[in-house]
Symmetry: D2
Subunit: 343 residues, 4 copies
Amino acid sequence: MKIKVIVNTSFRRMDEIFSPADQRRMADLVEVIWGKDERMPAADFERALPSADVVVTSGWHYGDALDRAERLKAIMDVSGSFPLSLDYEACYLRRIRVLSAAPGFGRQVAEFSLGLAIDAARQISYGDRLMRRGAEQYLWHGNVDTFLLYDQPVGIIGYGGLARALHPLLLPFGVSISVYDPWLSEGYLRRQGLQPVSLEELMSSSKFIFVMAIPSVENRAMLSRELLELIQPKAVLILASRAHVIDFDAATELVLEGRFKLATDVFPIEPLPADHPIRAAEGATLSAHRAGSVAQGMVELGEMVVDDLEAIVKGMPPRRLQMAEPELSMRYTSTRAKSPDST
Amino acid sequence: MKIKVIVNTSFRRMDEIFSPADQRRMADLVEVIWGKDERMPAADFERALPSADVVVTSGWHYGDALDRAERLKAIMDVSGSFPLSLDYEACYLRRIRVLSAAPGFGRQVAEFSLGLAIDAARQISYGDRLMRRGAEQYLWHGNVDTFLLYDQPVGIIGYGGLARALHPLLLPFGVSISVYDPWLSEGYLRRQGLQPVSLEELMSSSKFIFVMAIPSVENRAMLSRELLELIQPKAVLILASRAHVIDFDAATELVLEGRFKLATDVFPIEPLPADHPIRAAEGATLSAHRAGSVAQGMVELGEMVVDDLEAIVKGMPPRRLQMAEPELSMRYTSTRAKSPDST
Amino acid sequence: MKIKVIVNTSFRRMDEIFSPADQRRMADLVEVIWGKDERMPAADFERALPSADVVVTSGWHYGDALDRAERLKAIMDVSGSFPLSLDYEACYLRRIRVLSAAPGFGRQVAEFSLGLAIDAARQISYGDRLMRRGAEQYLWHGNVDTFLLYDQPVGIIGYGGLARALHPLLLPFGVSISVYDPWLSEGYLRRQGLQPVSLEELMSSSKFIFVMAIPSVENRAMLSRELLELIQPKAVLILASRAHVIDFDAATELVLEGRFKLATDVFPIEPLPADHPIRAAEGATLSAHRAGSVAQGMVELGEMVVDDLEAIVKGMPPRRLQMAEPELSMRYTSTRAKSPDST
Amino acid sequence: MKIKVIVNTSFRRMDEIFSPADQRRMADLVEVIWGKDERMPAADFERALPSADVVVTSGWHYGDALDRAERLKAIMDVSGSFPLSLDYEACYLRRIRVLSAAPGFGRQVAEFSLGLAIDAARQISYGDRLMRRGAEQYLWHGNVDTFLLYDQPVGIIGYGGLARALHPLLLPFGVSISVYDPWLSEGYLRRQGLQPVSLEELMSSSKFIFVMAIPSVENRAMLSRELLELIQPKAVLILASRAHVIDFDAATELVLEGRFKLATDVFPIEPLPADHPIRAAEGATLSAHRAGSVAQGMVELGEMVVDDLEAIVKGMPPRRLQMAEPELSMRYTSTRAKSPDST
């Protein structure tokens, strides 16, 4: 008998994350309950839950329904993070695996972050704007403030899934990479060929700074004005995870003063207010939270879900989605109110 | 006794290409004749040439002075190409090596080309322009036309120094790479892990097309309207070498029609006329011939020159500059009148 | 107050796995209870366990003492596998992490396995034996039966820690890699650049077959005579994990018949009986279970232990040791009686 | 009209170096004169030479016949080195390219050298011999003198074609690589990620020493007793090019004393005298000049020849064979009398 899987992805459309081949594969593997674009009615969900083996969802909107999920083995979140309002203690005790499709965003965000870094250092979008104004400078006259990624000191803040995907893209540039990540041991980082450093050292010694830390209760505005002032003149700060981790007002001021360059995909409020001063900063490259929602990348999420359903059907541990860990699950924090990625 | 080297780099300033360390190294190794930013007076040059062992120059502006260069072993061109008005036959017969610092441009142009490719596919500069207009779309609404570099079919036209530098940057993206290069055998290309293809097949099958062919007497407007029309809808054409090789008017029209995306660092006339229609094309990323003149990269040229002077002093063959080859030296063509890179 | 750690490594000597620097680091981080080469007396262990936060051990020799381990957060096994006689159910329920230093063997076994593969294909130890007998053949006369690893089809049985360490060593040889691993989904394997195949296909299509599956209740003698007979003439079978997974008698016969080449580090009985016929097989390379006990590699185990103690002290999840998973912990099987690695 | 090519490979058999596909390709491309396994009769050769465009040969056995080779554009040597008795001055003046298939040996020798290095460091063939004697030691008892290649300091003597092929095989081991090569500038080596060092420093600081220098008039017995005595205790010396470059008697004595380990594919006299003491050295791995004559590798030579014939037919420079350079052609020296590889 097939295992039963509630597929209630709410704000993610089914065909956004599941290729036709993966939809067929899933239907062959398991009994799919629901599986439509609209959110499953609460009453239907509560009725189905006691006999469900797996729930595929975006966040956890079902309160204490968990108590009645007697057969549940796994919750798979396709929102890009872990559910915030879930009772993780109960899950651990009842050995329900909480899994996230977050790793599916690694490649697309890594590629975009590399693009932002080269854009800022080589002034690609700035140069494009100048050409549209007829104000461009050719050759070395247009390269007064540029530098290469090759051979530079690079700093990465937060060596999680995004950074692990970025790492191989940086290697052919011959860069040396320093990392600040208080969740990881120095030995682990060194084994990856990375130099563990303090945040102060990273900010002051790096020519490229990639901010890839996921928002937590501990890192709100971690990149304070003081730390931002340590950045080398004209260095590049790439903001790829969430504005939660930075004093965005201070960053805006410093960029407008020409202290360093900023390339950012995220903002403290999205949509960004029309009159926000960063919109006019020549030293900034601005992107409307677009690093992680490319169609070609989104179907990886569905592929991961079906691969791990296959593992569960075979009685094997899931290997593609990321498993929530007790030590970390309480540290994640919501940035959903302000950043619509996972709402 | 030290060998004598005329260093007359004309439009390249000495401290643009020689780091202070390399200037010292050169002075220790050889007797530097001239070595100032201004062009060496013709009379002085002619007087010095008979006793010179090496000439470091930008192009060859000395007519038939070569006949009197009795000790000359090498001509080193730091302009980025090979001298056009040189008598190569005489050089080969007299065993004067003609060397070019062209490989020194490989890394900087490769990095910029990758930046342009990601920019166009992920709409980075387009998205930046939208944000400055307050017209941005967030998340998937802003990703309707985007795609990843990962896993895509990539075509490279011209597998010379620029392409060889680009190749390792592309590998971590898992792309398959096809190459059109009539100067290379299929066996050579296959050994590099590349698929040799016809130009037609490359144009019609690639999602990213990197144009890296150096201008020759044979490839003027090689990328004709017919070939450009083979490009897949929304694919990305990156023009990194010279506009010489493309029907730029046809490309402009097709981009304005939205047929594909263009990211270009070069133009048929530079500076580009203020009213050229490509300046307004939303499907284009425009750069003012800035891929190959970053200060950090230019000092590689001087490093190569001094490394190869060191080789010559030791009686060894130069290994860092590129040597002119009889079969190819007659095929290079001037794009100097229109593109100021090498004037 | 420091956490308390019982370090009772029994058959592993302290200075075998802990470098002096790691011993100091451990002493600074935690309160070390015991930490001598002799096994901790049972009574002492039982007395210490209730207040211990972590136990570092080789296997679990303490019966149901677990019931009284009230503060226990982690069991770290440095034997190279997971403890066999442990009550995993109790550990999961009480959220005691069971961790193994098995990944610390990855690099040393991978290097040795590559060495065995090249040895067999290029007849290095066979050629060395011939030279000592004065029976060597030079040049092509000595290469009648040899082939390269480059460009060959490679099969790996079991893509666990050993295979993951081997994978990057194989990449520069341009091989295509097929994998048989029933514990992993096809999607996971494809994402690693591997081709998932059936065991039959792997055996019949590979020129090099690396056996890296850990022994389980399901894979005893999995490589049966029938499967071994599928191996291509003169292909190379490298046995790197345990003889448990192969019909060793059949393999011996087939190698003596010259059907394929065998390079093995493990045997069904160790020490191997003096009269075992494999000892005389010219088509075999024989190694006395020496792939995974090189001093330079063993200190990695201690480094991993201390790195993960550091993580636990900081309230973070361990990242270097391997965590036991419910689905797999019941499948591991003992090969200790016959193979002394973990006794 | 097709160009005419004399294919007179003498000691290399036609089907040893040309695959059937390459033989057909060659016949389609050019008019093949001769092309049999037996050496072309001198009179026939002399008669054919004046109308030949290319000669494919093993060494140059034709004396001053060159004077009458009026159309000759290239001499392609498939012996593994450059012809020794050729008048290079005449070739340069008449612009006849002298080309060698030496790069075709790179991969097979690199793979074998890596195999020898791991064999010696991990005692694979020594351990195999012990098992055949019934004297093996298991586990750590059999690993008293072993170490890993991972993370070690590696030295390479001579960074030519063999070393360039070895380099990518070493990278995944995380080694640091020092090079001694007086024919290359420090800048060139640094750009390849290598550390240029003196021979003394290399010998004393490396745990693995790969000897890959081709024999020249300058490097006979370059590795003198004094230098060999600098080698670290138990370090590994891999002799991959020619015994010409080493004081082999001194090396033999030091290995017999247990000072370091030697893995060698070449000997001062081949076949090695039956009573040479190195045959009994337990610290040695011995191979009968078998690194570079594997059938699978030899057909690369023919592929290179045909690829470059294709280039010449198209009027393009050859790219796969190695071109002789004036500075170096006079430095090569014969080791043919003693090492039969190129006779």
